[in-house]
Chain length 207, copies 2
Protein backbone atom coordinates (compact mmCIF):
# COMPACT_ATOMS: atom_id res chain seq x y z
CA UNK A 1 0.00 0.00 0.00
CA UNK A 2 1.68 3.18 -1.14
CA UNK A 3 -0.87 5.79 -0.10
CA UNK A 4 -0.40 7.05 3.41
CA UNK A 5 -3.37 6.42 5.67
CA UNK A 6 -4.24 9.03 8.27
CA UNK A 7 -3.56 8.32 11.94
CA UNK A 8 -7.24 9.11 12.60
CA UNK A 9 -8.19 6.05 10.54
CA UNK A 10 -5.46 3.95 12.15
CA UNK A 11 -6.66 4.99 15.58
CA UNK A 12 -10.09 3.55 14.76
CA UNK A 13 -8.85 0.20 13.40
CA UNK A 14 -8.15 -1.46 16.77
CA UNK A 15 -11.76 -0.76 17.72
CA UNK A 16 -13.01 -2.58 14.62
CA UNK A 17 -10.65 -5.41 15.46
CA UNK A 18 -12.01 -5.56 19.00
CA UNK A 19 -15.67 -5.59 17.94
CA UNK A 20 -15.04 -8.18 15.24
CA UNK A 21 -13.20 -10.33 17.78
CA UNK A 22 -16.24 -10.20 20.04
CA UNK A 23 -18.54 -11.11 17.14
CA UNK A 24 -16.24 -14.04 16.36
CA UNK A 25 -16.41 -15.14 19.99
CA UNK A 26 -20.20 -15.05 19.69
CA UNK A 27 -20.02 -17.18 16.52
CA UNK A 28 -21.35 -14.45 14.25
CA UNK A 29 -20.26 -15.30 10.72
CA UNK A 30 -21.25 -12.22 8.78
CA UNK A 31 -22.47 -8.72 9.44
CA UNK A 32 -23.73 -5.85 7.30
CA UNK A 33 -22.18 -2.41 7.61
CA UNK A 34 -25.54 -1.24 8.98
CA UNK A 35 -25.51 -3.82 11.77
CA UNK A 36 -21.87 -3.07 12.54
CA UNK A 37 -22.76 0.61 12.52
CA UNK A 38 -25.47 0.16 15.16
CA UNK A 39 -23.20 -1.97 17.32
CA UNK A 40 -20.27 0.43 17.21
CA UNK A 41 -22.24 3.70 17.18
CA UNK A 42 -20.52 5.01 14.08
CA UNK A 43 -22.19 5.66 10.74
CA UNK A 44 -22.23 2.90 8.13
CA UNK A 45 -20.64 5.33 5.70
CA UNK A 46 -17.77 5.93 8.13
CA UNK A 47 -17.22 2.17 8.33
CA UNK A 48 -17.23 1.79 4.55
CA UNK A 49 -14.90 4.78 4.17
CA UNK A 50 -12.48 3.50 6.81
CA UNK A 51 -12.33 0.02 5.33
CA UNK A 52 -12.05 1.34 1.77
CA UNK A 53 -8.68 2.77 2.77
CA UNK A 54 -7.49 -0.81 2.76
CA UNK A 55 -9.45 -1.99 -0.25
CA UNK A 56 -12.95 -2.59 1.08
CA UNK A 57 -13.57 -6.24 2.15
CA UNK A 58 -17.36 -6.04 1.89
CA UNK A 59 -19.55 -7.77 -0.68
CA UNK A 60 -22.70 -6.09 -1.97
CA UNK A 61 -25.74 -7.79 -0.48
CA UNK A 62 -23.68 -10.06 1.77
CA UNK A 63 -21.95 -7.69 4.15
CA UNK A 64 -18.70 -8.54 5.81
CA UNK A 65 -17.37 -11.98 6.56
CA UNK A 66 -16.49 -11.50 10.24
CA UNK A 67 -13.54 -13.90 10.42
CA UNK A 68 -12.05 -12.69 7.15
CA UNK A 69 -12.39 -9.02 8.11
CA UNK A 70 -11.01 -9.69 11.60
CA UNK A 71 -7.99 -11.46 10.12
CA UNK A 72 -7.40 -8.82 7.47
CA UNK A 73 -7.53 -5.96 9.98
CA UNK A 74 -5.22 -8.00 12.19
CA UNK A 75 -2.75 -8.22 9.30
CA UNK A 76 -3.06 -4.48 8.61
CA UNK A 77 -2.27 -3.81 12.26
CA UNK A 78 0.72 -6.13 12.09
CA UNK A 79 -0.85 -8.57 14.55
CA UNK A 80 -0.02 -11.57 12.37
CA UNK A 81 3.47 -11.49 13.80
CA UNK A 82 4.70 -11.71 17.36
CA UNK A 83 6.29 -8.61 18.84
CA UNK A 84 8.89 -8.96 21.54
CA UNK A 85 8.54 -6.21 24.11
CA UNK A 86 10.87 -5.00 26.84
CA UNK A 87 9.93 -2.54 29.52
CA UNK A 88 12.07 0.07 31.27
CA UNK A 89 10.93 1.02 34.76
CA UNK A 90 9.55 -1.89 36.76
CA UNK A 91 7.55 0.21 39.22
CA UNK A 92 3.84 -0.07 39.80
CA UNK A 93 2.83 1.04 36.35
CA UNK A 94 5.54 -1.04 34.71
CA UNK A 95 4.40 -4.15 36.52
CA UNK A 96 0.79 -3.49 35.56
CA UNK A 97 1.78 -3.04 31.93
CA UNK A 98 3.90 -6.20 31.98
CA UNK A 99 0.95 -8.18 33.27
CA UNK A 100 -1.36 -6.52 30.82
CA UNK A 101 0.75 -7.27 27.77
CA UNK A 102 1.17 -10.91 28.74
CA UNK A 103 -2.46 -11.51 29.61
CA UNK A 104 -3.98 -9.94 26.53
CA UNK A 105 -4.69 -12.30 23.63
CA UNK A 106 -2.50 -10.21 21.40
CA UNK A 107 0.61 -10.57 19.35
CA UNK A 108 2.87 -9.11 21.98
CA UNK A 109 5.17 -10.89 24.40
CA UNK A 110 6.98 -9.23 27.29
CA UNK A 111 10.48 -10.71 27.33
CA UNK A 112 12.40 -8.53 29.77
CA UNK A 113 11.98 -5.80 32.37
CA UNK A 114 14.71 -3.35 33.32
CA UNK A 115 15.19 -1.13 36.32
CA UNK A 116 18.00 0.68 38.13
CA UNK A 117 16.66 -0.38 41.52
CA UNK A 118 18.81 -3.27 42.77
CA UNK A 119 15.98 -4.44 45.04
CA UNK A 120 13.89 -5.27 41.99
CA UNK A 121 16.61 -6.93 39.93
CA UNK A 122 16.30 -10.72 39.74
CA UNK A 123 12.62 -10.74 40.69
CA UNK A 124 10.00 -11.76 38.19
CA UNK A 125 6.81 -10.03 37.15
CA UNK A 126 4.24 -12.14 35.34
CA UNK A 127 7.01 -14.68 34.81
CA UNK A 128 9.41 -12.17 33.28
CA UNK A 129 12.75 -11.37 34.92
CA UNK A 130 13.73 -7.89 36.00
CA UNK A 131 17.26 -7.05 34.84
CA UNK A 132 19.52 -4.19 35.85
CA UNK A 133 19.67 -1.37 33.34
CA UNK A 134 23.39 -2.05 32.91
CA UNK A 135 22.45 -5.35 31.23
CA UNK A 136 20.37 -3.64 28.55
CA UNK A 137 22.99 -3.59 25.82
CA UNK A 138 23.86 -7.27 26.28
CA UNK A 139 20.20 -8.21 26.32
CA UNK A 140 19.54 -6.35 23.08
CA UNK A 141 22.50 -8.08 21.43
CA UNK A 142 21.12 -11.49 22.35
CA UNK A 143 17.38 -10.97 21.84
CA UNK A 144 15.21 -9.58 19.10
CA UNK A 145 13.29 -6.69 20.65
CA UNK A 146 10.57 -5.00 18.62
CA UNK A 147 9.14 -2.56 21.15
CA UNK A 148 10.41 -0.87 24.29
CA UNK A 149 7.82 0.36 26.78
CA UNK A 150 8.93 3.31 28.91
CA UNK A 151 7.30 3.43 32.33
CA UNK A 152 9.69 5.66 34.19
CA UNK A 153 9.72 9.24 35.48
CA UNK A 154 9.94 11.86 32.78
CA UNK A 155 13.33 13.11 33.95
CA UNK A 156 14.96 9.82 32.95
CA UNK A 157 12.78 9.01 29.98
CA UNK A 158 14.57 11.20 27.43
CA UNK A 159 18.00 9.83 28.28
CA UNK A 160 16.79 6.23 28.24
CA UNK A 161 14.96 6.78 24.95
CA UNK A 162 18.16 8.13 23.39
CA UNK A 163 20.08 5.10 24.64
CA UNK A 164 17.43 2.71 23.27
CA UNK A 165 17.51 4.39 19.87
CA UNK A 166 21.31 4.18 19.79
CA UNK A 167 21.02 0.48 20.56
CA UNK A 168 18.73 0.01 17.57
CA UNK A 169 15.22 0.16 19.05
CA UNK A 170 12.78 1.62 16.52
CA UNK A 171 9.47 1.48 18.40
CA UNK A 172 8.72 3.03 21.78
CA UNK A 173 5.51 2.74 23.80
CA UNK A 174 5.88 5.80 25.99
CA UNK A 175 4.08 6.22 29.31
CA UNK A 176 6.47 8.90 30.58
CA UNK A 177 4.94 12.33 30.84
CA UNK A 178 7.08 13.86 28.12
CA UNK A 179 7.15 14.04 24.33
CA UNK A 180 10.26 12.19 23.21
CA UNK A 181 12.52 13.61 20.53
CA UNK A 182 13.47 10.71 18.26
CA UNK A 183 14.84 10.28 14.73
CA UNK A 184 12.34 9.93 11.89
CA UNK A 185 12.76 6.18 11.57
CA UNK A 186 11.64 5.61 15.16
CA UNK A 187 7.94 5.40 16.03
CA UNK A 188 6.61 6.54 19.37
CA UNK A 189 3.15 5.78 20.71
CA UNK A 190 2.30 7.90 23.73
CA UNK A 191 -0.02 7.02 26.58
CA UNK A 192 -0.19 10.28 28.50
CA UNK A 193 -2.42 9.38 31.43
CA UNK A 194 -2.61 12.86 32.86
CA UNK A 195 -3.56 14.32 29.47
CA UNK A 196 -6.41 11.83 29.42
CA UNK A 197 -7.46 12.79 32.95
CA UNK A 198 -7.42 16.50 32.02
CA UNK A 199 -9.55 15.83 28.96
CA UNK A 200 -12.04 14.10 31.24
CA UNK A 201 -11.88 17.04 33.63
CA UNK A 202 -12.69 19.44 30.76
CA UNK A 203 -15.62 17.33 29.67
CA UNK A 204 -16.93 17.38 33.26
CA UNK A 205 -17.10 21.18 33.06
CA UNK A 206 -19.34 20.78 29.99
CA UNK A 207 -21.93 18.44 31.57
CA UNK B 1 -18.63 29.79 26.31
CA UNK B 2 -21.59 28.69 24.23
CA UNK B 3 -19.88 27.40 21.11
CA UNK B 4 -18.95 23.76 21.31
CA UNK B 5 -15.24 23.13 20.98
CA UNK B 6 -14.09 20.03 19.14
CA UNK B 7 -12.57 17.13 21.08
CA UNK B 8 -9.54 17.37 18.80
CA UNK B 9 -8.82 20.81 20.24
CA UNK B 10 -9.53 19.63 23.78
CA UNK B 11 -7.18 16.71 23.27
CA UNK B 12 -4.39 19.16 22.51
CA UNK B 13 -4.97 21.47 25.50
CA UNK B 14 -3.32 19.28 28.17
CA UNK B 15 -0.18 19.29 26.04
CA UNK B 16 -0.12 23.11 26.05
CA UNK B 17 -0.70 23.02 29.78
CA UNK B 18 2.21 20.62 30.22
CA UNK B 19 4.65 22.68 28.12
CA UNK B 20 3.60 25.93 29.80
CA UNK B 21 4.09 24.27 33.19
CA UNK B 22 7.62 23.32 32.19
CA UNK B 23 8.32 26.86 30.98
CA UNK B 24 7.01 28.17 34.31
CA UNK B 25 9.31 25.78 36.15
CA UNK B 26 12.18 27.20 34.09
CA UNK B 27 11.14 30.75 35.04
CA UNK B 28 10.21 31.72 31.49
CA UNK B 29 7.83 34.69 31.75
CA UNK B 30 6.67 35.12 28.20
CA UNK B 31 6.87 33.30 24.89
CA UNK B 32 5.90 34.10 21.32
CA UNK B 33 3.70 31.72 19.36
CA UNK B 34 6.72 31.11 17.10
CA UNK B 35 8.92 30.04 20.00
CA UNK B 36 6.13 27.88 21.43
CA UNK B 37 5.65 26.44 17.96
CA UNK B 38 9.29 25.35 17.73
CA UNK B 39 9.23 23.89 21.21
CA UNK B 40 6.04 21.88 20.67
CA UNK B 41 6.57 20.97 17.01
CA UNK B 42 3.22 22.35 15.91
CA UNK B 43 2.69 25.32 13.61
CA UNK B 44 2.30 28.77 15.12
CA UNK B 45 -0.98 29.10 13.25
CA UNK B 46 -2.25 25.91 14.87
CA UNK B 47 -1.40 27.36 18.28
CA UNK B 48 -3.15 30.64 17.53
CA UNK B 49 -6.17 28.78 16.14
CA UNK B 50 -6.39 26.46 19.15
CA UNK B 51 -6.15 29.28 21.67
CA UNK B 52 -8.56 31.48 19.73
CA UNK B 53 -11.24 28.92 20.53
CA UNK B 54 -11.04 30.25 24.06
CA UNK B 55 -10.61 33.89 23.20
CA UNK B 56 -6.94 34.22 22.31
CA UNK B 57 -4.71 35.26 25.28
CA UNK B 58 -1.83 36.61 23.15
CA UNK B 59 -0.82 40.23 22.73
CA UNK B 60 0.54 41.48 19.41
CA UNK B 61 4.30 42.05 19.71
CA UNK B 62 4.45 40.62 23.22
CA UNK B 63 3.49 37.02 22.82
CA UNK B 64 1.94 34.99 25.62
CA UNK B 65 2.37 35.59 29.31
CA UNK B 66 3.33 32.06 30.40
CA UNK B 67 1.84 32.10 33.88
CA UNK B 68 -1.39 33.74 32.72
CA UNK B 69 -1.82 31.32 29.82
CA UNK B 70 -0.98 28.32 32.03
CA UNK B 71 -3.57 29.42 34.60
CA UNK B 72 -6.21 30.15 31.97
CA UNK B 73 -5.77 26.78 30.27
CA UNK B 74 -5.88 25.19 33.72
CA UNK B 75 -9.24 26.86 34.31
CA UNK B 76 -10.52 25.77 30.90
CA UNK B 77 -9.55 22.21 31.77
CA UNK B 78 -11.32 22.49 35.11
CA UNK B 79 -8.04 22.13 37.00
CA UNK B 80 -8.82 25.07 39.28
CA UNK B 81 -10.95 22.75 41.36
CA UNK B 82 -10.09 19.53 43.14
CA UNK B 83 -11.65 16.34 41.81
CA UNK B 84 -12.27 13.46 44.15
CA UNK B 85 -11.59 10.16 42.44
CA UNK B 86 -12.50 6.62 43.38
CA UNK B 87 -11.19 3.53 41.66
CA UNK B 88 -12.88 0.21 41.09
CA UNK B 89 -10.54 -2.76 40.70
CA UNK B 90 -7.50 -2.59 42.96
CA UNK B 91 -5.34 -4.96 40.93
CA UNK B 92 -1.96 -4.12 39.47
CA UNK B 93 -3.23 -1.51 37.10
CA UNK B 94 -5.57 -0.01 39.69
CA UNK B 95 -2.74 0.33 42.20
CA UNK B 96 -0.52 1.93 39.57
CA UNK B 97 -3.27 4.40 38.67
CA UNK B 98 -3.95 5.19 42.34
CA UNK B 99 -0.28 6.00 42.86
CA UNK B 100 -0.17 7.97 39.66
CA UNK B 101 -3.15 10.15 40.48
CA UNK B 102 -1.85 10.96 43.95
CA UNK B 103 1.70 11.68 42.89
CA UNK B 104 0.90 13.95 39.99
CA UNK B 105 0.77 17.68 40.73
CA UNK B 106 -2.77 17.80 39.47
CA UNK B 107 -6.18 18.67 40.73
CA UNK B 108 -7.16 15.09 41.40
CA UNK B 109 -7.22 13.21 44.68
CA UNK B 110 -7.78 9.48 45.04
CA UNK B 111 -10.11 9.04 48.01
CA UNK B 112 -11.15 5.40 47.86
CA UNK B 113 -10.39 2.09 46.16
CA UNK B 114 -12.90 -0.71 45.78
CA UNK B 115 -12.50 -4.39 45.03
CA UNK B 116 -14.46 -7.61 45.46
CA UNK B 117 -11.35 -9.47 46.61
CA UNK B 118 -11.54 -9.81 50.42
CA UNK B 119 -7.77 -10.22 50.60
CA UNK B 120 -7.32 -6.66 49.36
CA UNK B 121 -10.01 -5.04 51.51
CA UNK B 122 -8.64 -2.97 54.41
CA UNK B 123 -5.19 -2.58 52.87
CA UNK B 124 -3.99 0.80 51.70
CA UNK B 125 -2.49 1.83 48.38
CA UNK B 126 -0.65 5.14 48.33
CA UNK B 127 -2.33 5.91 51.65
CA UNK B 128 -5.83 5.19 50.35
CA UNK B 129 -7.97 2.42 51.82
CA UNK B 130 -9.34 -0.46 49.77
CA UNK B 131 -13.03 -1.02 50.52
CA UNK B 132 -15.25 -3.91 49.57
CA UNK B 133 -17.53 -3.25 46.62
CA UNK B 134 -20.52 -3.75 48.92
CA UNK B 135 -19.54 -0.50 50.69
CA UNK B 136 -19.72 1.55 47.50
CA UNK B 137 -23.22 2.94 48.00
CA UNK B 138 -22.51 4.02 51.58
CA UNK B 139 -19.25 5.59 50.53
CA UNK B 140 -20.92 7.58 47.77
CA UNK B 141 -23.57 8.81 50.19
CA UNK B 142 -20.91 10.12 52.56
CA UNK B 143 -18.33 11.48 50.12
CA UNK B 144 -18.37 13.75 47.14
CA UNK B 145 -16.99 11.73 44.26
CA UNK B 146 -16.35 13.45 40.92
CA UNK B 147 -14.71 10.68 38.93
CA UNK B 148 -14.72 6.88 39.06
CA UNK B 149 -11.79 5.09 37.45
CA UNK B 150 -12.56 1.59 36.18
CA UNK B 151 -9.58 -0.75 36.22
CA UNK B 152 -11.29 -4.11 36.12
CA UNK B 153 -11.83 -6.87 33.57
CA UNK B 154 -14.19 -5.97 30.78
CA UNK B 155 -16.75 -8.61 31.77
CA UNK B 156 -17.51 -6.74 34.99
CA UNK B 157 -16.96 -3.22 33.72
CA UNK B 158 -20.37 -2.75 32.12
CA UNK B 159 -22.28 -3.88 35.20
CA UNK B 160 -20.17 -1.76 37.54
CA UNK B 161 -20.52 1.27 35.23
CA UNK B 162 -24.30 0.87 35.31
CA UNK B 163 -24.25 0.68 39.09
CA UNK B 164 -22.03 3.78 39.33
CA UNK B 165 -24.33 5.75 37.05
CA UNK B 166 -27.36 4.71 39.09
CA UNK B 167 -25.57 5.93 42.20
CA UNK B 168 -25.07 9.33 40.60
CA UNK B 169 -21.54 9.17 39.14
CA UNK B 170 -21.30 11.31 36.01
CA UNK B 171 -17.66 10.89 35.00
CA UNK B 172 -15.86 7.62 34.30
CA UNK B 173 -12.16 7.14 33.50
CA UNK B 174 -12.36 3.78 31.81
CA UNK B 175 -9.39 1.42 31.48
CA UNK B 176 -11.53 -1.66 30.84
CA UNK B 177 -11.25 -3.01 27.34
CA UNK B 178 -14.83 -2.20 26.38
CA UNK B 179 -16.85 0.79 25.21
CA UNK B 180 -19.32 1.60 27.97
CA UNK B 181 -22.94 2.42 27.19
CA UNK B 182 -23.90 5.33 29.41
CA UNK B 183 -26.63 7.99 29.45
CA UNK B 184 -25.92 11.29 27.69
CA UNK B 185 -25.21 13.21 30.88
CA UNK B 186 -22.34 10.89 31.79
CA UNK B 187 -18.87 11.48 30.35
CA UNK B 188 -16.48 8.61 29.71
CA UNK B 189 -12.79 8.99 28.97
CA UNK B 190 -11.27 5.77 27.66
CA UNK B 191 -7.70 4.58 28.02
CA UNK B 192 -7.64 1.52 25.80
CA UNK B 193 -4.09 0.26 26.26
CA UNK B 194 -4.34 -2.49 23.70
CA UNK B 195 -5.73 -0.09 21.08
CA UNK B 196 -2.67 2.04 21.68
CA UNK B 197 -0.38 -0.98 21.36
CA UNK B 198 -2.05 -1.99 18.08
CA UNK B 199 -1.66 1.51 16.70
CA UNK B 200 2.04 1.26 17.52
CA UNK B 201 2.17 -2.14 15.86
CA UNK B 202 0.63 -0.67 12.70
CA UNK B 203 3.13 2.15 12.65
CA UNK B 204 5.95 -0.38 12.96
CA UNK B 205 4.78 -1.98 9.70
CA UNK B 206 5.19 1.45 8.06
CA UNK B 207 8.80 2.11 9.11
Amino acid sequence: MEREISQAVIRRMPRYYRYLGELLDSNVERISSNELSKLMHVTASQIRQDLNNFGGFGQQGYGYNVKFLHDEIGKILGLNQMHNVILIGAGNLGQAIANYVNFERLSFRMIGLFDVNEAKVGKTVSGVEVHHMSELQDFLMNNRVDIAALTLPKDNAEKVAEELVELGITAIWNFAHVDLEVPENVVVQNVHLSDSLMQLSYNITQI
